[in-house]
């Protein structure tokens, strides 16, 4: 009994350490974002005089609202297009036996492993040839390289898990492939679409390399680039309070999404990685 009590206490201690370790940096960002002026340079666990100055400043003195809209536009368009393309493709890949399917799946998987920098110069050329340089559509286009293979792959694993009988019943009724896809599979794929879409959204929302390279003007930047390039003459003059305020603003929606969809995110991640 004594031993089990001790191990119980140790367990809770361990849990506390894990939570503090994972949450503290975010907590510290919140605390720092509420400090202005020289208050920022005082180490204290709670801000004694919380101030919203930093939050006001990033919207007034920087096009941060514009940056958020840019990110929302890019991530939403990327998710919509890649889900649309991936649903039809995953049905074909997961449900129909045809020659070359294994090779195609292999190709899709390989592309999802591409280092983005490996296509950087070719993509740069493509973006400029299409006249999309410094345009948000350049990001919608280029982000396909990581969202499309991912959504296709994960949805294919979901499609495979669906019972075959449903489709056979529809086939007996003489339904065509498009009907089967839209009327039989799509309703069943709802939860999978939410999970995959959410993960693709997070990936697109967080992307940095392409956004840094293909956009130039302040008003065209997405949130990660805006936060990375917050103006400051030198490393020592970075307006840390504002950087933290901006960081908190873009992270809060993600944290809320994670809290709501925690279970689904985990199942989506494991479908993509473990089941393979």
């Amino acid at each position: 009994m004594r031993r089990s009590l001790l191990s119980r206490v140790l367990l809770y201690l361990l849990v506390a350490v894990i939570v503090v370790y994972t949450v503290f940096p975010f907590y510290w960002a919140i605390v720092s974002s509420l400090k202005t002026g020289s208050g920022l340079y005082v180490i204290e666990v709670f801000p004694r005089e919380p101030a919203w100055g930093n939050y006001v400043a990033i919207f007034r003195e920087q096009p941060f609202a514009r940056n958020i809209l840019n990110s929302v536009f890019v991530a939403t368009s990327v998710v919509a297009i890649s889900l649309l393309l991936a649903v039809t493709a995953s049905w074909a890949l997961g449900r129909i036996q045809f020659r070359g399917r294994g090779i195609l799946l292999l190709a899709v998987l390989s592309v999802s492993m591409f280092p983005q920098v490996a296509v950087l110069s070719g993509m740069f050329e493509l973006v400029r040839a299409l006249g999309l340089y410094n345009h948000l559509l350049s990001l919608t286009l280029s982000y396909m390289i990581f969202t499309l293979p991912f959504t296709t792959w994960v949805l294919t694993t979901f499609v495979r898990e669906l019972p075959k009988e449903l489709e056979e019943a529809a086939l007996v009724d003489g339904a065509r492939p498009w009907t089967i896809l839209t009327k039989v599979f799509l309703p069943l794929l709802g939860p999978a679409l939410v999970t995959t879409g959410l993960l693709a959204f997070i990936a697109a929302w967080n992307e940095f390399l392409f956004a840094l390279t293909f956009t130039l003007a302040n008003e065209k930047r997405t949130v990660p680039v805006a936060i990375a390039l917050v103006s400051g003459a030198s490393q020592f003059e970075l307006p840390w309070g504002r950087v933290m305020a901006a960081s908190v603003i873009v992270t809060v929606p993600l944290v809320v999404l994670v809290l709501i969809f925690q279970r689904r995110i985990v199942s989506g991640l494991t479908a993509g990685a473990v089941k393979g």
């Binding site: 367990l11 894990i18 939570v19 994972t22 940096p25 975010f26 510290w28 180490i43 039809t88 493709a89 074909a92 129909i96 036996q97 799946l105 390989s110 280092p115 983005q116 920098v117 490996a118 296509v119 950087l120 110069s121 070719g122 740069f124 493509l126 396909m144 499309l148 296709t152 086939l171 007996v172 003489g174 065509r176 492939p177 498009w178 839209t182 929302w205 967080n206 940095f208 390279t213 990660p224 936060i227 990375a228 020592f236 933290m244 960081s247 992270t251 993600l254 944290v255 999404l257 994670v258 809290l259 925690q262 279970r263 995110i265 985990v266 991640l269 990685a273 473990v274 089941k275 393979g276």
Partner: protein, 321 residues
Amino acid sequence: MAVSGPGIERGPGVPPVPTGATAPVGGEVSRLTRQRRRAAWLFLTPMLVVLALVAAWPLLRTIYFAFTDARLGDAGGWSWVGLQNFRALSGDADWWRAVVNTVVFALVSVTLETVLGVGIALTLDAHIPGRGLLRAAVLIPWAIPTVVSAQMWNWMYNDLYGVVNAMLMGLGLIAAPLAWTADPNLALPAVIAVDVWKTTPFMALLVLAALQLVPGEIYEAARIDGIPATKVFWKVTLPLIRPALLVAIIFRTLDALRIFDLPYVLTGNSRYTASMAVFARQQLVEFQDVGYGSAASTFLFAIIALFTAVYIVAGRVRLSE
């Protein structure tokens, strides 16, 4: 036929086939199977066209550029230089520094993430109240954009006002504040620490998913037989979660090898932390040397391709049913 898809099924009235058989009967491919195969390719085409446009074509162009002296400014004015870029690369100390940085970064961070991830997963697997909330808390670092976590830690690492120095000095572990991101010896460990913080949750959740598939009776039996917990872990748990763990490790290694944003945001183009991706982008965009940068990209691509092949073989990826 209730609905007909746009652009699909416009063939001259194929009558509905009143059978559920999808396999060819007697060696002859049935009309239905042919119809389904045609539909499969129609459904696949849009995805394949987009992938060819944004993946295959840019990749081929990048590899092509690696053998030219193309510059970012001039369109079309490049010439073929053979292996010159690769020869220059092999004698470039900064490039080799980037290779070493990337390999050290990948090895150390993935090792730490695996050990910590398994530890956290084992803890979360225990039956404690509020486990769901706990799992969500652990997911927070994973959901935070890399750029944001880099900036958060950059501020925590600040040499004058950073909380990391304050804590370590408070604990008496260091006598004077350290310049975490500027000191050549500390910069790479500092980058690794942020990556470990950010991606351990991913590892932990993958391991946790595998752990929850281990039947509880096994532990029960081991407990009744009085087998010590550590032995159970090494002899029972670890072998059972090994396939999942292996896949997760390869996944993370691939991710670590192509790392860009973390070192870039934390330390800029500093040669003490620059990864291969940072080096390639610097050559390509900042020095406008498309040929040289593409050569570095191509080299990185080759390494990743090798690892991907290992993953596909080792992970025994399911490509057919």
